[in-house]
């Protein structure tokens, strides 16, 4: 954006950020992508009984270009991982990821050579959701948790640079996913 390169950090910018965060959180559009059985529960989330439109997200966008949210619903095989990453890359910023179910989050019970042991090896995940599969209410809960995170707002201008610098520093200090041991592996 052009205006956010020069605009000063102050009260007005903070208000703009708050407004944008509120707007984002109230209309997270998920991308139409289902990988396995969790996708059935994700589809149930769109039905009248659970009604995703109560949270402004009844439209599962068929094009990743129009989506803000990726719900990784199901196990990610090594063959599927580059495809999932491509869909993620095609989504426009800002974008968020929910790792739905244990298989997407850590490999779950499929601790074998075929399944990626957690989609966070290939994507930055915002919310991890346990369950096998999680019931739609659990997905709603995860979405509400994500909204709490999104409503904090999108950083612009000097704030964005500051946050990017901090995020980079934290990422450099963090343990890489492939080096995690014990139950985290």
């Amino acid at each position: 954006m052009s205006f956010d390169e020069k605009s000063p950090a102050g009260f007005a910018l903070a208000k703009v950020e708050d407004f944008v965060g509120w707007a984002h959180s109230a209309s997270l559009w998920p991308v139409t992508m289902g990988l396995a059985c969790c996708a059935i529960e994700m589809m149930a989330f769109g039905t009248p009984r659970f009604d995703g439109s109560r949270f402004g997200m009844e439209v599962f966008r068929a094009s990743p270009r129009q989506a803000d949210l990726m719900i990784v619903s199901g196990r990610v095989s090594h063959k599927m991982a580059p495809v999932v990453r491509t869909v993620y890359d095609q989504m426009a910023d800002p974008k968020w990821v929910i790792s739905m179910g244990v298989c997407a989050s850590s490999g779950g019970m499929f601790n074998n050579y075929a399944i990626v042991q957690g989609v966070d090896h290939v994507l930055p995940v915002d919310i991890y959701l346990p369950g096998c599969p999680p019931r739609p209410e659990m997905l709603i809960h995860a979405i509400l948790e994500l909204q709490k995170h999104v409503i904090k707002g999108q950083a612009f201008g000097p704030h964005r640079k500051e946050i990017a610098r901090k995020a980079e520093e934290a990422a450099l200090n963090a343990t890489p996913t492939h080096e995690m041991k014990g139950l985290l592996a």
Partner: protein, 261 residues
Amino acid sequence: MSDETTPMPHERGGTDKQPASSDVAKPARGGQGIGEVKGVHAASLIPEPKNAVEALVAPVAGFGVTMATLFKPVVTEQYPREKAPVEPRYHGRHQLNRYPDGLEKCIGCELCAWACPADAIYVEGASNTPEAQYSPGERYGRVYQINYLRCIFCGLCIEACPTRALTMTNEFELADQTREKLIFTKDDLLAPLREGMLAAPHPMAEGTTDGSYYQGEVTGPTADEVEWVRRNRPDEPSLESATAAAKRGSARSEGSAGAAS
């Protein structure tokens, strides 16, 4: 198209208007439009309005379903505002139970970890000592972790548990932001102390074995247990309610003893 890869535009237009008999006349060409069935015309599938009223209503007739739904009961669950109803035996988050006097039921046998198909449970047992008795008998679970990003809530651990220490609750709101937060430790899983329970560690009720605990013969903390905790941990918060429970328990046992004699 039956045999041609690219249809000729004028032929498609032609067959649309021609009757079915023309198809029979030139069977080699086939010549139907994409998605069309031989001898059926798309226009003939739409019913003609029978009278003037039907013709008037026809454009909005599709809203009939919408209108009828307005008068049907609402099926939507108001989940975040109203708690979603789950079955009583729903497989939710685990809980490590306690005996009525506050000792833990878990004996650190690791059978749950062995039963787990997803290797989500990690247990380390340790020996009870007279100074720190956490569970009746010899052993207790010193480290107890469940990784909720592996757990598939199948309940095989519950079936494996020999002391009914591990059960499942109806709680399902577990989503969180990091993988570390979703490894629940013993602090998170241990059942909260109910009214009258005395926090472990403390010795077993006098004159009992782990068997009598298992058979439900211990119904609350005894005066000796309370006294032990008061001597060793004077600022234990559960002391107050446990003292009252111990008094009630001793009064009841004296009463029953009197009735028996």
